[in-house]
Symmetry: none
DNA sequence: TATGAATGAGGATTCATTCAT
DNA sequence: GATGAATGAATCCTCATTCAT
């Protein structure tokens, strides 16, 4: 019988449904406002029900952040793996990709960074935090590969590509956080893309031979 | 008799003593662990006593972050105001200053950024957050002045100096946060200065005419 | 199935159960002693549970006072609306009604008046206090109607019926409070009804043409 | 030496000074706002100093209420003792006296009644409450004497003069409290005197033979 | 006489989580 | 599969009061 299959499929769907609700709550009420009660309400469930699909609030949040981060990482890896672009072109695309990810779902990305920025705020388990961290590292390593490739191919000057990748990631994180911090008081102004492209452009320019 | 003076001095010392305790707790247990109870214990007081020196937990935390941020801002302003250095030299010193500040008290700087990164986590009043934000903005504007000066004097290419300053601050924030995040799992590795100098160096190089 | 119905009915019962517990605590320990902890204990719950049935302590206390006051008001209104009695007969019944209400639940009535007597003692929200006040005013206006009617029908002399109603209510309040104050030291003596009937009788007599 | 005397006199003066401060605070901030801290500040002392002149907050408040209540009582006694007025004239003067007392210092009278209305709110000792109660009773008995005299002299009908006196006192208390309760929402309207005179007038009229 | 410093004793809420039905 | 009901565990803050100086 395919009933087991179907059940599993439905279960996955309900998990996703809850995650979508959590994303919405996170976006609207911030991490502090994202209580199990609130998420359940948004998902049209009662809090107790959430525990049928997630072991704990932590797992739920992790699942949420993880899926986003996984997307980021995969996009970067895909870029790094492309053979139709040279290293410089790839580097030039980095801000575009990062911006697209940010535009996709600013609040969740923000929450992700906040979560990562303050592990002790959430009650997330060290293991989950570690997993999140590993995911980010994977994306960063993919970025590093782009710069290494550039050096290898003589497009970029010799440099510490790991530091470069770390810097890009930090810049990404920092701008997201700082822009949001400013927006809290000046809701209209948005310079994410401008700032990111400008800064990343400068850095890349300097690397070009 | 200077007994009033002495009393006031001692009072200030006790305030500082409590701030130091808070700093330690913050460093060791993170913001979530930094309860009034815990801080009091570290300071060898009972919780009620803390309220003799600070109106609320908010004020205590704000005092902590604020003093640090004020220091950062003042250092940057002092640099911007120097007349014995040209704009390029000033820009070159920025990472040195930022690194010194970071080395001064990593946990508090971290807490500050975490606080700023997640206003909705803490219960800090919007006013206090705003004040913190303003302080940061002042520092950023001072950085922008350095780059403007460079343009005016023909040292730097024409560019959006506000965006540049924002980028530097974001980079600073991002690296602090990301380094800490990594350190949580790899306590030994520290690349703060390396990464910051490298990234800022690249950005500045690109600006030079 | 009427399971939803039953559930709601049971929920209402538990609310009432808690209110009853609060009433008891209030009667035995006074308002100061009526902590959520104490009420919960009396109701055989933990404090957190009370918050399932009431949004706050205020709402709980308001609910308690409000229901009683509503009863008072309704009784007075009903009396005022009767067509089978003339104004004098209605006035003669006022002390009977007020006494019955008092006998019904002296401690809660007492708490109500205490609450009303000392808004700044309790932490009850101004809105709730206002609502309580309005409720009382409604009852008072109903009393005034009785006296107005008497004047209109030529049973009572011309007079300020609003002042009369205020006086009756004040007398009611004052006697409840004062009797209770005396009882605190002389638990046996109870003159509530005697005093009320006597005083109200005198006042009414004077109004009769 | 008269130094002991002088010391005692000064001590009494300082006690009075503190009481005056307490009265003011009570008037401005209500009972809940009347903390030792606040009273001390008003008296230009530090909280600890208050304890040199009063054993406890209770004693302070008691002292305050007591002195007022004593004044009330004495006035009533004086009235009752006058030989130049007949019982009816004395009765007619009662509302005038009560109004004068109320006008003298509404907030303190209010606080007194509130205190009396809710012994369990304050932490005042039973002994102090008892003493307050006794004082009130003395005043009430003096009022009763007026009515008894009236009966004896054939001015008033036969009646329970104790109940009458209780009623007057209750009316007094009730109007003070209820007027204040209304004023909380309608600060302008003041009907104290009107209502009291009207009600007391009615009651007295009925007693006249 | 005055007070700076410190504290004991509470008290209201919030929220993730469990479990019988 | 869903949930109503209940709770354990925290956490901030207030105020009268004491006592050494």
């Amino acid at each position: 019988m395919g009933s087991t299959e179907r059940r599993e499929r439905e279960q996955r769907m309900r998990r996703r449904h809850i995650l979508a609700a959590a994303r919405k709550v996170l976006a609207e009420k911030g991490i502090r406002g994202a209580t199990m009660e609130e998420i359940a309400q948004e998902a049209d469930y009662k809090p107790a029900t959430l525990y049928l699909y997630f072991q704990s609030k932590d797992e739920l949040l992790f699942s949420l952040s993880g899926s986003l981060l996984k997307g980021v990482t995969e996009e970067i890896q895909a870029l790094a793996d492309r053979t139709d672009l040279d290293a410089l072109e790839k580097a030039r695309r980095l801000p575009v990709i990062l911006d697209r990810i940010y535009q996709l779902d600013p609040p969740v990305l923000l929450s992700l960074f906040r979560l990562q920025a303050s592990q002790d705020f959430s009650r997330m388990s060290p293991e989950a935090m570690q997993a999140l961290n590993d995911l980010a590292q994977t994306g960063i390593r993919a970025m590093a590969r782009v710069f290494e490739e550039g050096v290898r191919r003589g497009v970029f000057k010799e440099h510490n590509s790991a530091a470069m990748a770390d810097a890009v990631w930090s810049l990404f994180t920092g701008i997201v956080l700082w822009e949001e911090s400013k927006r809290f008081f000046n809701p209209d102004k948005r310079f994410f893309r401008t700032t990111l492209e400008f800064a990343l452009g400068l850095m890349t320019d300097s690397l070009v031979k």
